[in-house]
Amino acid sequence: MSTTVEQPRQFCTLGGQQSVVAIERAIPIVHGGPGCSNKLFSGMAFFNGFQGSGYAGGNAVPGTNSCEKEIVFGGETRLREVIDGALKVMDGDLFVVLTGCTADLVGDDTATVVSEYRERGVPIVHASTGGFKGNNYRGHELVAEAIIDQYLQPAPKVIPNLVNVWSVLPYQDTFWAGNLQAIRQLLEGLGLQVNILFGHDSGGIEAWKKIPAAAFNIVLSPWTGVSIAEKLEQRFGTPYLHYPVLPIGAVETSRFLRSAGEFAHLQSTQVERYIEKQEAYFYHYLDRSADFFMEMRWDLPAQFINISDSFYSLGISRFLVNELGLKPGRQFITDNPPEIFLDGLVNQFATLADKVSAKVTFTHDGGEIAKTLRSEVFDQPPLVIGTSWDRDLAKQIGGYHLSIALPITDRLVLDRAYVGYAGGLRLVEDIYGAVLGTY
């Protein structure tokens, strides 16, 4: 469903540019209008926790800056010129050409232009990401699928215990860098070899080349990335585990690790030993927070409302219900999940815990979110976990507010993670820090 949107929390398919930037030493080349790349960098990276430009993002992104000439006469010649320049000027291992609305509307044959370079041995692929085609969750998948289809070769043999992980979106998830590191550490804790693919020390092009050799893929996500795993299954016969809840805190993380261990046929004693140690750590600190909760609970918010994508809405709901005993209010899901995943998501919220369920609204329009919440009656101040757009709304409904999703302009985010055991503790610290900060 497409509607007009106030206070956007996601952008367009060309936002896949930021997934390219997140691959070490990969260079995006944007074949579009002069403003696209910078606007997406601005919305997804800078004014979203002030994530930086990275190695080849921000002002370094090569682009055709298409103007009237390219609209009227086509932009293929100009694209060739910019690719030629990029191959000489930019020091990279993989080039990903992404199209914007202009190129896709006028019908440039970008695929053919790019394939000519590939035939000459240049590591270059093309993703058709004209902004009108969808959101950047889909854009992220399009980038991965382009690399898989156009660049990867079947592996001579499978590497046992090697797993590729498809989870949170680089940059769109303000905490992606920390979250992916956390996921890697958790799975390594089970004894797996983890191909995390995006972010610091993820291995760049060499890691991507190893994708076909993996024993299996994990899609740790409500829906994004499932299409990538399906493609890998079709092309390389790699099986995949789809675990739809972002694991935050001990209950969910242990459940995830058991699923992963089982799927990888790991010895359950090995898995349990690791889980036991991690849970001990988590509950040690929950124990330390007990005085705070027992003494201060009278005025702490009992009800929470998530306004974020399905990763966080679901992950945080499960955490707050199962770990801290909070009551879910209405949950907003802002990432436009495809039709086929909607029932599954609604069902997840209907069964958050025994006798605990939450109503779900799928919308990415800040106007509709505000209207819905203003019409509700809150007996006590609710906790609003959302974006920087939601600060005024939280105040209007008398609630507390924490920004954890795009756009975040009231926090600086570096390597913080909310995933896993330690991630759950960080979330507790941040939520109650925000509440205490208002006293």
Partner: protein, 496 residues
């Protein structure tokens, strides 16, 4: 500087929607490498031609500039008729809005921005229905005094009929609803977006003057603090900072002002010339009041237009006197410091004046575009010439924030300090280990006292460039060794 009101070219303000792009209207270019003297000369002679780059890095588009001005009007709503990605800059405008409101002690509220979120279906069947839906949503949520609808590449290419849709809505709702022709593909000079925004304001908001308020001076600005009062109030004049953080009512009456000035001649050239041509509000054509000589000349022209000739010289002398001791100290501090400016014209030219007055040596500059002339057409308003009297043979380039060129150039020039005036460029400079000062408040260096403020700020930053040193040791730039060995402007085509 002549103080007579110049006759402006007839083509400046068009009443129909849309604005002629700068390439055609002002002979603006985005590629040049040479010296200020030469650029001034060929611009004046009408011989300036664009040199296109074979390789380019992503730029910025008009829609960003247009929306920056319009989204900060406090009782308007901006609707971007575009796919959702074009709203990537909404969070930025929201932060600017809240940050500026805080500085001005206004209630902090979120910026009022809506995207029509065009999708594939809309590109085939059109989306004026969604546009109307957005207008109704804006109206019922905010009861705005005006609505601005910014166009996009997509709305332009699929041929959306904005005008008749907006006319219809305007009639129904009874508030001005203006289209803003800022399709990204129309111009390589993103400053065209300012013109598009001001054109919408001139067409739909500004009303003929009922009274005259000769003491009120329109100042076309970005979001900086009001340092203009320091220069105007002693002369009995009152600055009216427009367009950010105004209300529609305030913009309706800018036609009543005694004069229009601007903090940057390239920002408000279209608006200032339009106000003069349509409403007889004289434009201060001297370069903006930065640096000693620049401020002298600007004040004299302002005083002449507003009938303050009798008191201006005394004011100038007193102000110059007041800053003298501190300026001398700063000049000693900055003696021998080699500086470089990377900014948009003409504010970049103003920065060049400031740095030279502070005693630094300018080793080069790079501006994001160059206007061969301004809308008022008076060569005496040439900010580049004013800023480079005596330094007209330095390295000067026009480069629409192509960081590959900037990095290459700076590695050769090795300045001690770089002044930057555009988001996300400072980081490339800092990674070279060069202290980079991003000037956030463009008014800080204004006038005489601004020289001291600016000098102290830079001295503070410059004292301990630890972060730049760390970055240069531990960060990699994405350029090949081959490129760094080429001439910085070797990707510029054509011959000068």
């Amino acid at each position: 500087m002549t103080t007579e009101i110049q006759v402006t070219p007839k083509s400046v303000v068009r009443q129909e929607p849309g604005v002629t792009i700068r390439e055609r209207r002002l002979g603006s270019i985005t590629g040049y490498s040479g010296t200020p003297d030469e650029l001034v000369k060929i611009s004046l002679a009408g011989q300036l031609v664009e040199r296109e780059r074979s390789f380019t890095q992503a730029g910025t588009c008009s829609s960003f500039c247009a929306t920056l001005q319009l989204s900060l009007i406090q009782d308007a709503v901006v609707i971007n008729h575009a796919p959702a990605g074009c709203s990537g800059d909404f969070p930025m405008f929201n932060l600017y809005n809240r940050y500026g409101q805080g500085k001005r002690k206004l209630d902090q509220t979120s910026a009022r921005l809506i995207t029509t979120n065009l999708n594939e279906h809309d590109t085939i069947f059109g989306a004026t229905g969604k546009l109307l839906e957005a207008i109704h949503k804006a109206y019922s949520t905010y009861h705005p005094r005006a609505i601005f609808v910014t166009a996009s590449c997509t709305s332009g290419i699929i041929g959306e009929d904005l005008e008749s849709t907006l006319d219809e809505a305007e009639e129904e709702l009874g508030i001005p609803i203006a289209s803003v022709s800022c399709e990204g593909f129309r111009s390589q000079v993103w400053a065209t977006g300012w013109d598009a925004a001001y054109s919408a304001i001139l067409r739909k908001i500004v009303r003929p003057a009922k009274i005259r308020r000769p003491e009120s001076i329109n100042i076309i600005t970005f979001i900086g603090e009001d340092y203009f009062s320091e220069l105007l109030r002693p002369l009995g004049l009152v600055p009216d900072l427009i367009v950010p953080f105004t209300k529609i009512e305030q913009l309706e009456t800018v036609s009543e002002a005694g004069a229009t000035a601007q903090m940057c001649s390239t920002l408000g050239t279209y608006f200032a010339a339009g106000l003069e041509k349509q409403y007889g509000v004289p434009e201060i054509k001297s370069p903006p009041p930065y640096g000693l000589t620049g401020t002298d000349m600007w004040l004299r022209e302002l005083a002449h237009i507003t009938g303050k000739d009798d008191i201006v010289e005394q004011f100038i002398a007193a102000e110059r006197n007041a800053i003298e001791p501190e300026l001398e100290k700063l000049k000693k501090r900055f003696a021998g410091v080699k500086a470089f400016v990377a900014a948009g014209p003409s504010h970049g030219h103003s920065s060049m004046e400031i740095l030279q007055d502070l005693g630094m040596e300018l080793v080069g500059s790079c501006m994001f575009h160059h206007d061969a002339k301004l809308d008022h057409g008076d060569p005496a308003g040439d900010t580049l010439r004013a800023a480079t009297t005596g330094s007209g043979r330095m390295t000067y380039s026009v480069c629409n924030k192509q960081s590959f060129e900037l990095v290459n150039l700076l590695r050769r020039l090795k300045p001690d300090l770089v002044i930057v005036r555009h988001p996300s460029l400072a980081v490339s400079v800092a990674k070279l280990g060069i202290p980079a000062c991003f000037v956030d408040d463009e008014h800080l260096g204004l006038g005489y006292r601004g020289l001291i403020r600016y000098g102290k700020k830079i001295a503070d930053w410059f004292r301990n460039p630890a972060i730049e040193r760390n970055l240069s040791r531990h960060s990699a730039l994405p350029y090949t060794r081959w490129w760094l060995e080429q001439q910085p402007f070797s990707m510029l085509g054509g011959e000068v």
